[in-house]
């Protein structure tokens, strides 16, 4: 009866908790039916601690209320992969998967048959026992799509139905998971010298998939548009052939899916799924480095797709032969088709990107302002986009049009290199160098003006740039009293009002210390 009790428990929790809380903390729990013991396995210590502190009391209450006969012992522990029963069968494993559509619990669910003492269940209402014909949606084992598996034992591969994108019940949130991002097209890709070859090659592949440029390997630094091109190809392929199974995913997702499939003893399903795609778009393949099992699996996936004349597109932050920790056989295969580089965009392209993005936000950005921003931000397109968002936010907040002074003001926070940890020692050294006096004079008793004035400036900067108390600052200047520090601060602040030279010196030092 433990199974039924657990079903009731998660049903109650589902009713009591906001869905995000349920999904975050309860859904990842796995349940193993022990000998009058209810094992709850958390995927990591963090979730374990959280469940223990927030929900275990309530779980115990519900279990006690609903137990017929002896109340089972509840053991909450971390689910290491090796703790899964070694003889777990595929259908048992699949029963651990997520049920997307939550069913009402059935009160009198029979327990597991005796020959399966370790059957495992997800913490999901409706993850009923395996003897029933239950429709399961396996989500996490195949990250980029939902695979429906009907019946027991596991259905053959031919009965697997790949749901079309967008059928996820979680439509409240914007989703790109395993899907092509429709916002990335060739039309809104800004072409310049830095990326024109990559764009042309991508357009070729989009028009003739599985042709001479297979695989297409796009490489270059971060935020330069590799992923945009990849999605543009995918969107074009889908447009040309709406029934095509075009799969986009990040290499880390591939690795994660494979690990899940191994844990769930569902590696064959995993292989069948990836080997059957019409086009595989895999992002940032450098993350395969040093992951030997993933490389092995990807090698077979690559061969299956390539040999059947279907298209593979990959992006990477470096040329394939330069990826450390990648098997030679993969490196060589990556070079079989066409490898194209994407370089950082030049000034005019950066400005054009900004104007295009601003148009997309229905904001007017003049050429002069775009060029000004493009000159300041050279590293990558993501940073450009971030900067533009900040400028637009600032312009809206201030109720002013975008102008160069407004851009300067808005980007101050982004362009500031760092909030250095400034020490009094550093201030003393910088001021001493600036005024060409000895460092020892900062703490000496000498009181002639050529020494005392820089010392006062240093004290004032120490108050401005550090959080030391005034007595501490005084101590660090040769054991002086805090009133001396206060006097120095007042004197320098007065002098900055009356003397341009002092003010300029102060500003120069401030800039040099905080940039």
């Amino acid at each position: 009866m433990i199974v039924a009790t657990w079903q009731k428990c998660i049903y109650c929790l589902k009713q009591e908790l906001p869905s995000q809380q349920f999904n975050t903390w309860i859904r990842p729990l796995r349940f193993i039916n022990g000998n009058n013991t209810l094992y709850l396995l958390a995927p990591n210590k963090f979730i374990l601690e959280w469940v223990k502190d927030h929900f275990l009391g309530r779980i115990e209450e519900i279990i006690t209320e609903n137990s017929q006969g002896e109340t089972p012992i509840i053991i909450l522990e971390i689910a290491a992969a090796e703790k899964l029963p070694a003889d777990i069968s595929l259908d048992q494993a699949l029963s651990t998967a997520d049920l997307t559509n939550v069913l009402e619990p059935e009160v009198d669910q029979p327990d597991q048959p005796d020959n399966r003492p370790h059957a495992e269940y997800s913490a999901t209402p409706g993850a009923l026992n395996n003897n029933q014909t239950t429709k399961l949606n396996v989500t996490d084992s195949f990250n980029n799509s939902l695979v429906s598996v009907t019946g027991r034992p596991a259905a053959p591969a031919s009965s697997h139905k790949i749901q079309s994108p967008g059928t996820s019940p979680n439509s409240r949130k914007q989703r790109y998971k395993g899907e092509l991002n429709p916002n990335y097209t060739f039309n809104n890709f800004i072409e310049g010298k830095s990326n024109q070859i990559a764009r042309a090659a991508s357009a070729q592949v989009a028009d003739n998939p599985g042709g001479a440029y297979n695989p297409l390997f796009i490489y270059g630094g971060v935020g330069l548009g590799k992923t945009h091109l990849m999605h543009a190809i995918g969107n074009h392929l889908r447009e040309q052939n709406p029934g095509a199974n075009v799969v986009y995913l990040h290499s880390q997702t591939f690795v994660g899916s494979m690990v899940s499939a191994l844990q769930l003893n569902a590696i064959n399903e995993f292989k069948r799924y990836y080997h059957s795609v019409d086009a595989l778009l895999i992002d940032d393949i450098q993350f395969f480095a040093k992951k030997e099992r993933s490389q092995e699996e990807f090698f077979h996936t690559f061969n299956a797709i390539f040999e059947s004349g279907r298209q593979i597109i990959m992006t990477c932050d470096k040329y394939h032969s330069e990826i450390n920790g990648l098997e030679e056989r993969l490196k060589s295969r990556f070079g079989w088709g066409l490898s194209v580089a994407v370089e950082p965009p030049e000034l005019e392209t950066r400005a054009a990107i900004l104007i295009n993005k601003a148009n997309h936000e229905h904001v007017y950005l003049a050429n002069e302002e775009a060029m000004f921003m493009a000159q300041k931000l050279r590293s990558n397109v993501r940073e450009l986009e971030g900067a533009l968002k900040k400028v637009i936010a600032h312009s809206r907040f201030m109720g002013s049009d975008i102008s160069i002074p407004l851009i300067k003001e808005a980007l101050k926070d982004l362009l500031a290199i760092q909030n250095k940890l400034i020490s009094v020692d550093n201030i003393q050294r910088t001021v001493a160098e600036y005024y060409k006096i000895k460092m020892a004079d900062m703490v000496s008793k000498r009181r002639n003006r050529s020494i005392a004035r820089p010392r006062q400036i240093a004290m004032c900067l120490s108050k401005e740039l550090t959080n030391h108390s005034l007595p501490e600052i005084g101590n660090l200047y040769g054991g002086r009293d805090h009133t001396t520090v206060l006097h120095a601060c007042r004197t320098i602040n007065d002098l900055r009002q009356s003397s341009t030279d002092i003010n300029e010196d102060y500003q120069n030092l401030l800039r040099s210390l905080s940039s």
Binding site: E16, L17, P18, S19, Q20, Q21, T24, W25, R27, P28, P43, N44, K45, F46, I47, E49, W50, D53, H54, F55, R58, E61, N170, K173, Q174, R175, K177, G178, G221, V222, G223, H250, Q252, T253, G256, F287, S379, N380, R382, E383, G386, K390, H394, F397, K412, D413, L414, L415, A416, I417, Q418, N419, N467, H468, S469, L470, P471, E472, H482, L486
Partner: protein, 234 residues
């Protein structure tokens, strides 16, 4: 049974940190305004940086409170300094929330496994429509990332510096804290505290709290000699 989202955990959101009691200068008005209406923010990430004691943790917790009250975004506050004991796997399954507030982000920068885990989590958040609000002592440009992929993603949204209060504003904050505690604190005593103690706001407010308790337990008014004695200042 009504579950209170984050309260009993040792790094849970403090009830004391709300937008109402966040003391700020005009320089931060734009940032505060953005955070107060964060449910309408369309990007994956927003990045706040500023000195220790500027109020970053306060703001991140305030946004969790505000969204809990408005029942708009399901938010989770994660102070990385305390979370790091759980290892980089900590992000697993957190993509079901609407908003994740990552405090002290800089403490995991430079560590390959953490950065890879966070990079994967970022991509997952983007896929699932989860927002990330990140705080750090340095701007993304000032952090020494191992993974440039993560660095560029942290610059993808808006970046704001959270400015510290100036001297007058800090003194006003001390005055306000004393008033909230019905603690008579003269301008003279306040100035005395301000000139003798570290001037980061959090630590100054803690001094007021401590003096309040000591003044009650010793049944003494707050005078300079009393403060000097109990604080051990010469």
């Amino acid at each position: 049974m009504n579950f209170s989202p984050q309260l009993p955990f040792d790094f849970s959101v403090s009830e004391n940190f709300t937008f109402t009691n966040f003391l700020t200068s005009g320089k931060n008005a734009e940032l505060v305004s953005l955070l107060e209406e964060f449910e309408s923010y369309q990007e994956v990430v927003a990045f706040i940086w500023g000195k220790k004691g500027a109020g970053k943790s306060h703001l991140l917790q305030a946004i969790c409170h505000a969204n809990e009250e408005k029942e708009s975004l399901q938010a989770l506050y994660l102070p990385m300094q305390k979370i790091r004991v759980f290892g980089p796997e900590v992000f697993k399954s957190l993509h079901h929330m609407d908003l994740i507030c990552l405090d002290d982000f800089d403490c995991i920068v430079g560590e390959q496994d953490w950065e890879e885990s966070l990079f994967e989590f970022f991509n997952r958040c983007r896929e699932e429509g989860v927002k990330l609000l990140v705080s750090s002592e340095n701007s993304p440009r000032g952090l020494n990332f191992e993974l440039q992929d993560l660095a560029s993603r942290m610059s993808w949204g808006v970046i704001y510096q959270l400015h510290e209060l100036n001297d007058d504003e800090k003194l006003a904050a001390l005055h306000r804290r004393a008033e909230e505690r019905h603690l008579p604190l003269s301008a003279e005593v306040m100035q005395y505290i301000y000139t003798r103690h570290s001037r980061d706001l959090q630590s100054l407010l803690e001094v007021v709290d401590k003096l309040d308790q000591l003044s009650l337990s010793e049944k003494r008014r707050l005078t300079i000699p009393f403060v000097r004695k109990v604080m051990g200042w010469q």
